[in-house]
Amino acid sequence: MRRRTFVGAGVVAILGGTAACSGESDTSSGNGASGGTLTLAPLVPSQPWDLKDAGLGNNTQYYQPVYDSLLRLDTKAEPIPNVATKWSYDSTGTVLTLTLRTGITFTDGAALDASAVKKNLEHTRTGANEAAGQLKGIKDVEVVGADTVKVTLSAPDPSFVANLGSVAGMLASPQAIDAGTLKDTPVGSGPYTLDKGATTNGSVYTFVRNEKYWNADEFPFDKIVLKPLADPTAILNALRSGQVDGALITTPKNVDAARSGGLNILRYQPGDVAGVYIWDRDGKISKPLGELKVRQAINHAFDRATLIKSVYGGLGEPTAQVFNPISTAYDASLNDTYPYDPAKAKSLLAEAGYPDGFSVDIPDVGPIFPEAQAAMVQYLGDIGIKCKLVTVPSTELLNQLLAGKFAISYFSLASFRSWDTITIQARPDSLWNLFKNSDPELTALIDSAQNSTGDSQNADFKEINTYLVDQAWNAPWAVVENSYATSRRVKVTAQAFTPVPGLYNFTPAG
């Protein structure tokens, strides 16, 4: 689904390439092998070293070597201890107390203590990028003792703790933050430091061991080299000729070529759900979409199993829900709600008062997703819904969707933990609830989920999911699958909710 043109790759990276968590796991480097160099090819160019300007997803690869994070995420993206050894909420779910590991210093000698954590959280949240966005709910950070920090949130955020295991929870030297030197040089307490002599910005980044790192056993490689590559052919050639040990394969047809070239392929779900998103559920700009039966008809129109093959080259799992399979809201039985049934779809349209169908404008995403667009136009055409393509430059697509110009479109949205998915698209003020649709029943369920924990919260999540499927808010097709290729020199394990495995997940082979 990722195209060769840069514009395409860029937009796909924007549309689907962000993850709410860093790729860190609890895998211990069991085989004891160590040393050597790990060379990876990130899909995206680097972002500024200053964490307030840091993004997530693919960008995480640049930050992981130098910056340690408050928590780590295991392979299922559950938070586990790291710099912070203990954490707990108060009864309101808005005051989080973190206990820190003692004796850690940044590579410039500054101490990693409670005030350094406070400085970082307050500094990162001043930015406008994705990591900063995850910290916007912080009301106050209080230094309770040298190793204790109290974070007060303005409202309960069920994803907040996990976010501290990603870029949002990464820590830079407070001295470097004050000096304003992070723009050019990262200073952290992570397992590696940037070797500027062996680094050319934009093409090669070399990291060497931080000899003082507290947890060096978890990082078997002596050197990490990152060489960003965006072109699918360049990626494949670099892998096959042994120039890099790991890279994301961005075009399904290259997966077989990589495998036959002697590379290992790791398949996993990065946490994106793609398909037809019905944005205008109140029928503001397309009256028919305000009818439940019309939206249900759209859901019955697609042969999802076939779409997986024709659109995603077999890399994906059919779905009818926007929550991904490892989230707590997921309910496999919901996928049977709308089987492929064009006759039923037509009769539902007739019942809703559209026996001859209707026509609707959709943004022309052909340059980025040609197969998906062709499938959408054809399947909807089969039940009498005529899609009129409106040309939109790929660089303006997000803009026009967010401005509410289209009632329905093919799209791919990030779907991580249940609460993340709700925050991204289901709340009345969610950014990707484009027409700000709401319903008292749904709002009550979301409120209840936000203010509960554990099993009762998960039950609420499932109810929200069921509501969205029953109301046919969208017509999802597939849980997207990524393919990560590695050389035989290294081993890698998958990491939930992230487009690429994290640094923790790599070990030398043999």
């Binding site: 997530l56 406008a128 990028n129 994705e130 916007k136 093409s203 072109d231 050639n237 430059p393 803009n399």
Partner: protein, 313 residues
């Protein structure tokens, strides 16, 4: 000659100014939502607005342009909106990559096209027809296809040369040479085809001239006749084509750099234009236009050296 050069220099400066201004305006007219592209699809509208304010995008285009221009004439091109690196350091890193492969390609095509063109003109017959056929094929095959094939076989299958990446000359001259060989060949193929035809045509014309016959009748050696008299007179039109090729090769570098994963000026221009990274794109445009102006200037000087008639006026 001095006034001639001064005039060319001045028009070059005007050209840089006009093209950079146009680029700036065009960047603002496309409607690309730069702040949204930077902060990602899940950022709130407040975050996007904050980013816009941070970048100064909320001010009028005229103010933004004036800020850029006044900083640029002092040599300060700002920082990339996406990577945060200074544009000057980015260009310093990227320019050698592109120059290496473009000059490598140009050198290759100059040598190959003179050899092929002269041989075809002098020998004629079958050789001539083969060269002409090759030229047509070379002209028709796009450079990216050559690049794909070379990368697949020479680099991946046979492992003779690196498939991607660039090694600076200062780090290792031999690795530098290896890293630019395939991209340079990819670029050169089309240029050889065009220039060889030009050299051939010019040589054929010159060899028919009366003075060549006269020189030959005076008993000049074939070698001196060809190299000293015929080639020198056939060179100006070929040199003009080669100069134009340089501009073409810089354009071709955009694609070739992608295939070989090189982070040169070409790929920077491509990515900066599509993402809306205005500071970087402006830097790239200034450097590229300057490069073209300088190359044309050098070409004029070379023409003057080859042909005294040009020096007048």
């Amino acid at each position: 000659m001095k006034t001639f050069l001064a005039r060319r220099l001045l028009s070059g400066v005007v050209l840089v100014f006009v093209i950079s201004s146009l680029t700036f305006v065009l960047m603002r007219l496309t409607g690309t939502d730069i702040a949204r592209n930077i902060v990602g699809p899940t950022a709130t509208t407040q975050q996007v607005a904050a980013k816009e304010a941070e970048l100064g995008l909320d001010r009028s285009v005229v103010v933004q342009y004036w800020d850029w221009l006044t900083a640029a004439v002092r040599g300060d091109f700002g920082r990339s909106w996406f990577s945060g690196d200074t544009v000057t350091s980015s260009l310093t890193d990227k320019l050698p990559v592109t120059l290496s492969i473009v000059l490598g390609g140009l050198l290759l095509s100059a040598v190959a096209s003179v050899l092929l063109g002269v041989a075809a003109a002098v020998r004629g017959g079958l050789l001539d027809r083969v060269v002409q056929l090759l030229a047509i094929i070379g002209f028709a095959v796009p450079s990216f296809l050559v690049a794909l094939v070379l990368a697949l076989f020479v680099a991946v299958e046979w492992g003779w040369l690196p498939a991607t990446g660039y090694t600076p000359f200062a780090v290792s001259p031999s690795a530098w040479f290896e890293s630019i060989t395939l991209p340079s060949i990819s670029l050169a193929v089309g240029a050889v085809a065009a220039t060889a035809q030009q050299v051939r045509g010019a040589m054929v014309d010159v060899l028919r001239k009366d003075y060549i016959r006269t020189l030959r009748s005076r008993g000049l050696s074939r070698r001196s006749l060809l190299l000293k008299h015929a080639l020198r007179n056939a060179a100006p039109p070929a040199l003009t084509v080669l100069g134009l090729q340089f501009v073409g090769l810089v354009g071709g570098a955009v694609v070739v750099e992608k295939v070989f994963g090189l982070t040169g000026i070409g790929s920077a221009a491509n990515s900066a234009a599509s993402s809306g990274d205005s500071p970087l794109l402006m830097g790239v445009v200034v450097v590229m236009v300057t490069l073209v102006v300088v190359v044309n200037l050098l070409l004029d000087v070379a023409q003057g050296w080859l042909n005294p008639k040009v020096r007048v006026g």
